[in-house]
Symmetry: C2
Subunit: 362 residues, 2 copies
């Protein structure tokens, strides 16, 4: 089908691989051989079991994890996880460390605070508007977990290397860089991912939780807010967001079979990021907002000489088929989100447009 | 497009109107004039604002409610609402009444119990396996709310007439009969609806809450679990389940513009239910499980003379293009869910098959 589609640099919901969209489209009226839509099949059917089980198996293969990790598909986004994490893991006798690297870390911290939990902000980059990832700080040695935001969508920074927390497990919000490259999962007690940036559509939150973390959970939590509920029922204690899970399954299949896994994905992502950051580094017109050693592979934030030029840049880019380049409303400027599904060709088109725009407006 | 589709009697996720599926399909690769998929557009875009605002406006028109009610699109299904309702409305000095009419009421009650809230089960039909809706019982006069399940998907019963609770507002789980007929909304402090039965796909829960209920909410709740968060942000405190909301919008448009509103919908639903229940009443082979005065317009539960016949009935029906007729795993037997999107023609086909099957197996 010949459809006019733009290069989509949205921060989330964001671009999905076109073959995934085509497969979704083909299954909207009748899913595989079910003679009913993917939106109409029962979550208790063997057809849907095959979808969710395949999504779990692919996640485990891609991350290189085994039986000691559980893969869950929940609702409420990362924002509900901000509350569930301290609720499940921080009983009165326990404490945690949080690293504050931006808007979403700040929100995660706020939810621990609302519940009056015992935690320390072990490091923060708030002093320079979160333009960098903190280095050289110390952790609480007997913390139950250290919480990080692996990639900061709004500020355009990313942990290049995981912090050394000794034997204390990391709990990470990976919403905006999940599966952008291989990671050492043994470092993590839990990761959670609002799917709508790098792995699927809005409406599902992936959680990968290590079995030993479940032993920390106190009894008496509301059923839906207790991770054990979802582990025991394979994410089907109640009706799951079936269509969103199906879309994630197709994205995982694309990652495994078309891209060739996270190592190959990283190569492509490095190429895209290099192409775009080089354009700044060769120019005095475009200025990246993140420190070089903290730059994100996924969200490239930059400013032009003034706000008027930024407005025109975004408008003219849109006219040239390049969408979603406005920075987050809280920080302004420009941002190109170049998640897994954004192609090298899209990034090259953007860089070519940037060069033209610079020439015309210097 | 000519697609082979069966008559779908699933209990949820369930049948959607075919024109809705066709419109979804047309917008999967490029939404309207956006040149990106409905799955890829930003929830902060004017395009998505138009979707959610239209869904809210149509809900208000269809229900005949004004500014004093808020329409929300949340995640976590009715199951998370079971916990949020007592958390938000039952502070220490308040109490509530619950009426237990089946599996889902029981789950709602359990969540109030987990939180050690002050409540009374004012009536229950558990003595006869929930085959009827209780009558002649008394309420706690100064309760904060009375909780009911308006339609019991598993047991096939429905409140034909709302209980008289005086000035105490009803809080109702309407997951399986929302918008099946006109209702007197002035009786309700809040209704909540897992969309996947009568109003959309899995992955979104609609909440309609009266403004005065918000004044009951204590400070200090986790942000995502406080209804005021979602009221203040028009359901966009965090990324909402955009595709599910879009699907609901299209179903609401179909209800308003194609069907002609809830009065017309009720006529069609009455016709379908009459057609199906008459088939029982004329037969000694099929036996409805719900008391006559408590029969559901939406979920028609019935038994055949023995379990072996039931198995064959379900299998042969499927071979004849009639799907989803198995009763809930907790009760067995058969169930035909005839929600808004199930056509009169589908019900007639089912009745015709039932008559044939009876003749062959008497």
């Amino acid at each position: 089908m010949d459809v006019n589609r733009i290069c989509n640099f949205n921060a989330g919901p964001a671009a999905l691989p076109e073959p995934v969209l085509q497969e979704l489209q083909a299954n909207i009226l009748s899913f595989q051989t079910c003679c009913m839509s993917i939106l109409e099949i029962s979550h208790r059917s063997s057809d849907f079991d095959a979808v969710i089980n395949d999504a779990v198996a692919r996640t485990k293969r891609l991350l290189g994890i085994g039986e000691d990790y559980h893969v869950l598909f929940l609702q409420g986004g990362a924002s509900l996880q901000f509350a569930m994490i301290p609720m499940n893991f921080l009983t009165e006798d326990r404490k945690a460390d949080y690293i504050n690297t931006g808007t979403w870390s700040t929100k995660a911290i706020k939810e621990a605070e609302i519940q009056k939990k015992n935690f320390t902000v072990a490091a923060s980059s708030e002093d320079r508007n979160f333009a960098y990832i903190p280095k050289n700080f110390s952790f609480t040695p007997d913390a139950t977990y250290v919480h990080i935001t692996s990639n900061n969508t709004i500020k355009g920074t990313q942990w290049a290397k995981l912090p050394d927390t000794g034997s204390v497990p990391l709990v990470a919000d990976m919403s905006s860089d999940f599966m952008c490259r291989p990671i050492d999962m043994s470092r993590f007690g839990m990761i959670y991912v609002g799917a709508q940036k790098n792995i699927g559509p809005a409406g599902v939150c992936m959680v990968v939780v290590r079995d030993d973390m479940l032993k920390l959970i106190p009894d008496g939590l509301p059923t839906m807010l207790d991770y054990r509920t979802h582990v025991e029922k394979n994410s089907m204690y109640n009706t799951p967001p079936c269509f969103a899970i199906y879309t994630v399954q197709l994205v995982l299949k694309w990652l495994e079979e078309t891209i060739g896994g996270l190592g190959e994905m990283e190569k492509i992502n490095l190429k895209k990021a290099d192409t775009l950051y080089s354009a700044f580094d060769e120019s005095n017109f475009y200025n990246g907002t993140a420190d070089r050693d903290s730059r994100s592979l996924m969200n490239v934030t930059f400013r032009l000489p003034d706000e008027d030029l930024e407005k025109r840049f975004i408008a003219e880019a849109a006219q040239n088929g390049l969408g979603g380049l406005k920075g987050h409303r809280s920080v302004g400027g420009c941002r190109a989100s170049i998640y897994n599904a954004t192609t090298v060709e899209s990034v090259e088109k953007l860089v070519s447009f940037m060069k033209d725009f610079e020439k015309k407006n210097q």
